[in-house]
């Protein structure tokens, strides 16, 4: 895989997350029932950043959880590499909440399917909404995002790499090609 184009830099990414935070607040008036759950790995960092955007706007902090969907995947036996289980940490009750699920890239939709399965084991949220930084298309399941940073149509030969300061030392989104 080689880098084809750089699509987002630090500033663009920051503005995008702030916009998503505003959209979340616009759609959900009651901040008391709002919570964020990030999907490992990069969804966790994005959820944390959206939460601090919301805090800046509303001067109120909202709970943020971590979801590891490894154990819920439907392709565990198909992936060649070692699946690494890193653990889930949702230390608040999700029942009755408006839960915003956060991930970096929305692609086949299978990760989100697994995440929805996992979340039902933690309780019954009032609403689950989905926020993603990039939607690259090619869905294999009937799933769509409520908040999208950027729609990036891709071919199957391409992949989207989201790099974040917390995990990769810099903020950028690039498109890679075989």
């Amino acid at each position: 895989m080689k880098e084809k184009a750089r699509l987002l830099d630090k500033e663009a990414l920051g503005r995008m997350l702030m916009r998503i935070a505003h959209e979340i607040l616009e759609k959900n008036q009651d901040i008391e029932e709002l919570c964020l759950v990030g999907i490992r790995n990069r969804g966790v960092y994005l959820a944390g950043r959206i939460a601090s955007c919301i805090e800046k706007i509303e001067k109120k902090s909202i709970p943020v959880g971590i979801l590891d969907i490894t154990l819920y995947r439907d392709d565990l036996t198909l992936i060649a590499a070692q699946p690494v289980v890193r653990g889930t940490a949702i230390d608040f009750d999700v029942t009755g909440k408006v839960l915003i699920l956060v991930d970096d890239v929305l692609y086949t939709g299978r990760t989100i399917r697994a995440a929805l399965d996992a979340l039902t084991d933690f309780g019954r949220p009032k609403i689950i909404q989905l926020a993603v930084l990039v939607d690259r298309g090619h869905r294999e399941l009937p799933i769509r995002a409520d908040y999208v940073g950027k729609n990036i149509p891709t071919s199957l030969n391409e992949s989207i790499e989201v790099r974040l300061d917390e995990s990769d030392g810099k903020d950028e989104v690039v498109i890679m090609e075989k």
């Binding site: 154990l71 889930t88 084991d121």
Partner: protein, 316 residues
């Protein structure tokens, strides 16, 4: 790091990285048991057989709970009630279980090497739940998991293992694992219960319990197996407690925050006093809880590895 073995037979053959990988995976599984719905679908559709040739409640129940929390189906076979009684060999029993399309066999056997032999003959995963005096890897892993959770590390810890070292697979697995992870291990027992050349495993040896406790970060107290009392070299129960039993008085001279472990079942008043077993230093029940997370990790890793092995065979 990739876990590539379809079996877990012992800690002797594992690298430090592999042991740490199991412990890291286990940390992630621990959270599952604290949920209201204590179940994840990772091993849905897999079948686990607990094949126990020796009486065991805690290890078998722990494996059973671990498998069920991963959504596997579990069947228990105890040798007293099976055709082992009719003279079937271990490998034949294993092959018959495999013919039932079982994915993982968890075996406890009184012969050293039983798990290894079964693993060599079967394509199913084999997990050693204790073989003779040889190894009991998941017990040592849960002991190390507990140590790491309590003290934050294994590297550089001083750990003393007290009791019947000679007949203990728990001791052997612990020594292999702890030494690989950089702990400083001392074994302490009456001379007759210390096997010859144990120093070659990289441990210190003492017959002085106060010396074993002095400066130790943790003491792992083994069960005295008085069912072996017929062997006349075995110490008498009362003598053992006065010379080697862990008491509050002895702990007073040890590090203030020393951790006391025991694989169970405890003989109160023989290996340790009740005050110690139920006291502040004891992490015995936490070991039991951690055993589930460790066994979930092991079952998950061997099942994953075996799926990859089978996929590769299909591809060729």
């Amino acid at each position: 790091m990739v876990w590539s073995s379809k079996d877990l037979l012992g800690l002797e053959g594992l690298s430090r990285e592999e042991i740490e990988f199991i412990l890291d995976t286990a940390s992630s599984f621990k959270e599952v048991s604290s949920r209201e719905i204590k179940k994840v679908p990772a091993l849905r559709g897999k079948t686990v057989v607990n094949l126990f040739y020796e009486p065991s409640t805690r290890t078998r129940v722990s494996f059973e709970i671990a498998a069920k929390r991963l959504s596997a189906d579990v069947i228990n076979i105890a040798s007293e009630t099976s055709s082992v009684r009719k003279g079937e060999t271990l490998v034949d029993t294993g092959r018959n279980i495999e013919a039932l399309k079982v994915d993982i066999i968890v075996i406890r056997h009184n012969y050293s090497g039983a798990a290894q032999m079964l693993a060599r003959h079967l394509k199913a995963s084999v997990v050693n739940a204790g073989d003779g005096w040889h190894e009991h890897p998941t017990q040592a892993l849960l002991d190390m998991f507990t140590l790491r959770e309590k003290l934050g590390r294994i590297q550089g810890l001083k750990v003393s293992i007290v009791g019947d070292i000679a007949h203990s697979r728990v001791a052997r697995s612990n020594i292999w694992g702890l030494v690989k992870l950089g702990a400083q291990v001392t074994v302490c027992a009456p001379k007759m219960l210390i096997p010859a050349a144990i120093e070659e495993m990289g441990v210190g040896v003492t017959e002085d319990i106060d010396l074993a406790l002095s400066g130790a970060d943790a003491v792992n107290v083994l069960r005295m197996q008085f069912e072996r009392d017929g062997e006349n070299a075995f110490p008498r129960q009362l003598d053992y407690f006065s010379n080697f039993g862990i008491t509050q008085e002895r702990l007073k001279k040890a590090k203030k925050d020393i951790i006391v472990m025991h694989p169970g079942p405890i003989n109160r008043g023989i290996e340790m006093s009740s005050e110690v077993a139920d006291g502040m230093s004891s992490v015995i029940l936490e070991q039991v809880t951690n055993g589930i997370a460790v066994r979930m990790a092991v079952l998950f890793l061997v099942a994953q590895a075996n799926d990859r092995i089978k996929n590769n065979e299909d591809a060729h």
